[in-house]
């Protein structure tokens, strides 16, 4: 994978570069927004690690060009308290975010998820996703948990489908509202109610969710990594 690190702090690039290189990624670097855009036009970049606080640009404004022009996936690096910035970046199309400071293991896990998703996308649009315990057929609207079929209402399925398609990645409340109601202007209460209903049906202990996790102030994340399966 070609990974571009966009951060104006050289020591962060210095710390990340040897690890990513050791994992046989090609690492590119840019300290400013304009340098980053130039870099994606020159080289093929798969993943951009984007710091939102750049000296010359608002990081979230870079996301659309990075994704649309270069077809790169974007992993946002952001401070913990700036939920609004994170949500904006995610709604602009960023694939995921990670709070600074982060552990290397966590960063590598996020990169792996993005990596896997990029492969899936190039495989064509899958409609069946599977993990150890869970199997979801998006076309037939079937969900099987530990071999047991689970009945979901159409709206529950629409919301759950958005989580499945972005498994192991955060999905913002807005994205889930669009998935469920075709509009982001839904009272957050409705979304919470449907998440609760989904948890009732899918979680072992709904009051202690392990599958559909809350990302406070941002959205939800399906904890399980789903892999696409070719229809036989």
């Amino acid at each position: 994978m070609n990974i571009l690190i966009v951060d104006d702090e050289p020591s962060i690039i210095r710390a990340l570069k040897p690890v990513l290189t050791a994992l046989s990624h090609d690492v590119f670097e840019a300290a400013t927004g304009s340098a980053a855009l130039q870099m994606v036009r020159q080289s093929t970049i798969d993943i951009v690690l984007l710091d939102l606080g750049l000296p010359d640009a608002d990081g979230s404004e870079l996301i659309a060009p990075l994704k649309d022009e270069a077809g790169a996936s974007v992993l946002v690096l952001s401070a913990r308290h700036l939920e609004a910035d994170k949500v904006r970046a995610l709604d602009e199309g960023a694939d995921d975010y990670i709070d600074k400071p982060f552990g290397m293991a966590e960063l590598l896990a996020r990169i792996r998820v993005i990596e896997r998703r990029r492969k899936q996308e190039s495989d064509g649009t899958a409609t069946i996703f599977q993990s150890e315990n869970l199997r979801v057929d998006l076309a037939r609207r079937q969900v099987t948990l530990m071999g047991e079929p689970i009945n979901l209402s159409p709206k529950e399925f629409a919301i759950f489908g958005a989580l499945v398609r972005n498994s192991a990645q955060v999905v913002t409340q807005r994205q889930l509202m669009i998935a469920g109601w075709n509009t982001p202007l839904v009272d957050g209460q409705y979304l919470r109610s449907y998440i609760a209903l989904l948890r009732d049906k899918l979680e072992e202990d709904p009051s202690y969710p392990e599958l559909i996790l809350t990302e406070s102030g941002v959205g939800y994340r399906l904890a399980e990594q789903m892999t696409p399966v070719r229809r036989t």
């Binding site: 939920e83 209402s153 709206k155 209460q189 449907y194 998440i195 809350t214 406070s216 102030g217």
Partner: protein, 488 residues
């Protein structure tokens, strides 16, 4: 001096008696006795009725003595020195005695007035002693009025370009305003304005509204005494306030120093450890076993986490102190609590959190990240005192409030320390090595309050043990009906 009827009759009676006595003495040919009797009468009149009556008596006595009693009778005229002496004696005695008596009376009167005044001033001073704040001075004085020609009193303290009335907070922008108001509104009643001067210079002004009897110079002196007492009391109150302020400043200075040393210790320690460990790892002179290298690396990672937690805490404190208003959205407190439990389980895998969630959704308006952090901080705090015992996290949703409480079964917090635990950098005595930054509870309360909630502590909870922290919010008012049609 006016003649009052009884006094006039008494005086006349004395005069008539003296005249009759003198006549009797004269008829038995005792001229000296006769003169002495008349003289005595004049003295008695002088003592009794004062100067004017005495002189009138003396003149009348001279006339009667000269015309009726002394030779030649029934005609005026002084032929011998013997005849002149009594006349002079009557008048001189009357004059002198009258003067003396008058003076005596005046001084008695003055003494009485002075006594009333000083009693009044004493009471004023006594009352003013009790005022501890400038705003109380006027009230202390007002309790004594009306008295001593004073109807009412208003105190204004100079403050830059305007005058400020501490008792009411009213402000006079124009310095002359207090002078003009009230004056001449009612005939004899008037206002006297005096400057209040303390030992360190002018303080302001006092305005007395006076009663009708007010007028003479001596009353003005009284008002000056009263205003001097007021100035004294005000200055004393100002000094008390200054002392209190200085003490507060000294305390906050001491607090700042202890904060600073606490911060620098908590920041330096992890840096020191990391520097030493990484120095050892990179030194070509030190020959380390793989086990030793691993141990040094893990201590670097551990100190990184510690430093991260601490800077996060300090930034949170900064947020609270800067009063940054969080973005608000509605959320289910139970859902946020579950998130917080997940977060804390990563740091304390052995902590046993028992959940008691109400069946109803606990919807509040707030910032989910802040509330999650507040709950996580409370759980982290509970983990230090829980030992092996479970910690209970309960969420209650009632009509008028939504409540989340976290209860541990530790040894509890002494009543005296219960509010102090929310102070910055407060660390419990028994925390020992588990002590954190001393900021967790301060941050929890700050975040809960930033979301319009309340965070309180209760200890002991049961059987003399345990601590319970409770956060309470108003339910979100714009909550929609929770029942959702599943078939939609």
């Amino acid at each position: 001096m006016t003649f009052k009827p009884p006094s006039f009759f008494v005086t006349t009676g004395i005069f008539v008696a003296a005249t009759v006595g003198t006549h009797l003495a004269q008829t038995v040919d005792r001229p000296i006795t006769a003169v002495l009797i008349y003289l005595t009468g004049v003295i008695i009149i002088a003592v009794h009725s004062g100067m004017l009556a005495a002189i009138m008596g003396a003149v009348a006595a001279s006339g009667i003595y000269n015309f009726f009693l002394s030779e030649p009778r029934f005609e005026f005229g002084v032929t011998t020195v013997d005849e002149a002496i009594p006349l002079i004696a009557f008048n001189a005695t009357a004059l002198l005695t009258g003067l003396l008596v008058g003076r005596l009376r005046d001084s008695v009167e003055r003494a009485r007035t002075a006594q009333t005044e000083s009693a009044f001033l004493l009471t004023v001073s006594d009352r003013l002693q009790r005022a501890l704040q400038v705003k109380d001075v006027e009230g202390a004085m007002r309790g004594l009025l009306p008295s001593q020609y004073i109807q009412s009193v208003k105190i204004f303290i100079a403050d830059g370009d305007y005058y400020f009335r501490p008792s009411t907070g009213e402000i006079e922008l124009c310095p002359m305003e207090p002078l003009l108001e009230d004056v001449g509104t009612n005939g004899k009643k008037g206002a006297i304005v005096l400057e209040l001067v303390g030992a360190r210079g002018p303080l302001g002004i006092v305005k007395f509204r006076t009663t009708e009897e007010y007028g003479s110079q001596s009353n003005l002196t009284d008002l000056q005494s009263v205003s001097a007492l007021l100035a004294l009391a005000i200055e004393r109150c100002l000094l008390l306030e200054e002392v209190a302020e200085t003490q507060l400043q000294a305390r906050s200075e001491a607090l700042k120093n202890s904060l600073f040393s606490s911060i620098s210790h908590d920041l330096r320690t992890p840096i020191t450890v990391m520097e030493a460990a990484s120095g050892a790892l990179s030194s070509p002179d030190v020959d380390l076993s793989q086990e030793q290298r691993d141990s040094l690396l893990s201590s670097i990672i551990e100190q990184c986490h510690r430093l991260d937690r601490y800077t996060t805490d300090l930034l949170d404190v900064g947020r609270i102190q800067a009063g940054l208003l969080p973005e608000t959205q509605t959320m289910d407190l139970s859902e946020i609590a579950m998130s917080a439990i997940r977060q804390i389980r990563a740091a304390h895998p052995t902590l046993d959190v028992r959940r008691e969630f109400s069946a109803d959704p606990a919807i509040i308006a707030g910032n989910p990240t802040l509330i999650e952090q507040a709950i996580a901080n409370l759980l982290d705090n509970a983990s230090k005192f829980a030992n092996e015992d479970p910690v209970t996290l309960s969420v209650k949703a009632a009509n008028h409030f939504v409540e989340l409480s976290i209860t541990d079964q530790g040894s509890g917090i002494k009543m005296a320390d219960q509010e102090r635990v929310f102070e910055r950098f407060y660390k419990g005595r028994n925390e020992g090595s588990k002590a954190g930054s001393g900021l967790g509870l301060f941050i929890a309360r700050g975040f809960v309050e930033a979301c319009a909630g309340m965070l309180t502590v209760q200890s002991p909870v049961e059987g003399g043990r345990g601590t319970r922290f409770t956060m309470r919010f108003s339910p979100a008012t714009d909550a929609v009906d929770e029942r959702v049609e599943v078939s939609s």
